[in-house]
């Protein structure tokens, strides 16, 4: 299981989940953490700040490199996973459990523009050639 079917995906390797409370939970994919390697630092976004879809709002750093995390849909950050500050390795161990932030979306319908699990998997497979 590298891309669970109940999630939506961005081309920049974030996953997004629309929760029952209307919020969108965001993390990075299994493929993203595998490409980056051991995580050593996460810079979380500011709660209360609004982001447009596709803008940088967090940074994950592995021993190898820093990578921006983009907002998969537009919205306002309402929560961040502070546990990641002390335990960034959770992004490696459980990428679909270790969420990074929650957004209150401007329009929940925007999630439909993201990739399905099958579409995301095909994109990753094509990249790996």
């Amino acid at each position: 299981m590298t891309a669970p079917h109940h999630l939506r995906y961005s081309k920049t390797h974030e996953w997004a989940r629309l929760d029952d409370d209307g919020l969108v939970t965001v993390g990075i994919t299994h493929h993203a953490q595998e490409q980056l390697g051991d995580m050593v630092y996460v810079e979380l976004p500011e709660v209360g700040r609004a982001y447009k879809a596709g803008t940088e709002c967090a940074v994950v750093e592995s021993v190898k490199a820093a990578a921006d995390v983009y907002a998969p849909v537009g919205g306002t950050v309402v929560a961040v996973n502070e546990l990641l500050e002390a335990h960034p390795e959770q992004l490696n161990q459980d990428p679909y459990g270790a969420w990074i932030f929650k957004l209150k979306p401007e329009n929940a319908e925007d999630l439909k523009r993201l990739l399905s699990a099958a579409q995301y998997q095909s994109m990753v497979d094509a990249d790996e050639g």
Binding site: G37, D38, V40, Y41, E43, V59, E61, V63, K64, A66, E85
Partner: protein, 374 residues
């Protein structure tokens, strides 16, 4: 252009290593976890495929004269076969063409091991300076090079290579010898004890497998980079290059200005005033120091030349090129993306033989717990 492969590249792939481009070579980055591999080397033993580096054999009546002219240290001081030294090849301006280890193999025979990236440049440079001298130059692409590093490296390598066991136990630091068809050197670039094995390519996979059977961890070049950074060792192309002199990147000790030996770059170094000095940085704020970040000091701007997360210390460290006048203990700011982060200057190395050798500032708990739980 296709990436170059070592005698072990396809084996690494079959063994599940993550392969990436290192200076045009397809090399393992890690075998699963770069941090775990780093710790295995610090606590026990790990093996790296460094066959992308190039051994160059120089033989003939003019070999010694050529190397006395090309290297910043005097190979004339290598008194017997197996004796080795770390030296720099400099250009006429005193800039660094490459850093090398030179081994004496006989009265008129030397082996020089150069880095992967500048290898072709180095060959041309050596050839140019050897014109007219009686020297044959043989690039030994037929050899694989395995670096076995860590406190238990030589003991475990002796288990894997029984015919070289006595040699491995008796070898002094920075000495090499030949046994069982392998050139065995007590050298490495991780800040640990260990050895480098140069052997015919066709033997590489068998020796690698026996090392693993002896308990040595397979490691990728990712861990080699964090290990050498903790050890305060310069990486060619990042911390040193043709635009800096040895005195500007902490390598003055590798230049022999005593005596009258005239080597390429000597005249420039004798008259040059350093523009920079090299210091270590320990990040006090959150984040990760990376190559290329701007450093602001009381004496002006500098640059992070190598930076990253130090697994042994549990925090981010860097090597930096800073203006003269900045001293260990000074506070500096580093531009990490759009923020300025505080860092403290220290004198490298950061870690030697598994032990932190800098005073850790606040929040060093992770380093202590790592040390106490081998």
């Amino acid at each position: 252009m296709a990436l170059k492969t070592t005698p072990l590249t396809h084996f690494h792939r079959r063994q599940g290593a993550r392969l990436v481009d290192f200076s045009g070579w397809e090399m393992p980055l890690h075998y699963g976890s770069q941090i775990e591999e780093h710790h295995r080397v610090r606590r026990d033993a790990g093996v790296f495929d460094v066959s992308h580096m190039l051994a160059i054999d120089l033989e003939g009546a003019g070999a010694e004269a050529l190397l006395r002219r090309l290297l910043s240290k005097d190979v004339g001081r290598l008194a017997r076969p197996g004796a080795a030294l770390y030296a720099l090849m400099l250009n006429e301006d005193g800039g660094i063409v490459d850093d090398v280890i030179a081994y004496q193999r006989g009265p008129a025979a030397f082996r020089v091991v150069v880095n992967a990236g500048p290898a072709e440049k180095d060959l041309a440079w050596i050839r140019r300076h050897g014109a007219g001298l009686s020297v044959t130059m043989t690039p030994r692409r037929d050899l694989a090079i395995l670096a076995v590093q860590g406190p238990n490296a030589r003991r475990r390598a002796a288990e894997a290579l029984p015919a070289a066991a006595a040699l491995l136990q008796g070898l002094a630091r920075f000495q090499a010898a030949e046994a069982d068809g392998a050139f065995v050197a007590r050298t490495g670039y991780t800040g640990e004890d260990g050895c480098e094995l140069m052997l015919p390519a066709e033997r590489a996979e068998g020796v690698w497998r026996r090392l693993l059977d002896a308990g040595v961890a397979p490691c990728g070049l990712g861990a080699r980079d964090t290990l050498r950074l903790e050890a305060g060792l310069n990486l060619y192309g990042q911390d040193m290059d043709e635009d800096v002199t040895p005195f500007e990147c902490g390598l003055g000790w590798a230049v022999d200005l005593d005596g009258t030996r005239d080597f390429v770059g000597r005249a420039a170094l004798a008259g040059a005033r350093p523009r920079w000095q090299r210091l270590g940085l320990v990040l006090e704020d959150k984040g990760v120091l990376r190559h290329g970040q701007r450093v602001e000091t009381a004496a002006g701007e500098g640059l992070v030349t190598s930076g990253g997360f130090a697994p042994t210390l549990g925090r981010s460290i860097a090597l930096a090129r800073v203006p003269l006048g900045v001293a260990p203990g000074a506070s500096v700011s580093v531009a990490i993306r759009d923020k300025m982060a505080q860092a403290k200057c220290v004198q490298p190395p950061f870690v030697r033989e598994g032990k932190p050798c800098i005073a850790l500032l606040s929040g060093g708990d992770s380093a202590r717990s790592i040390r106490n739980n081998p």
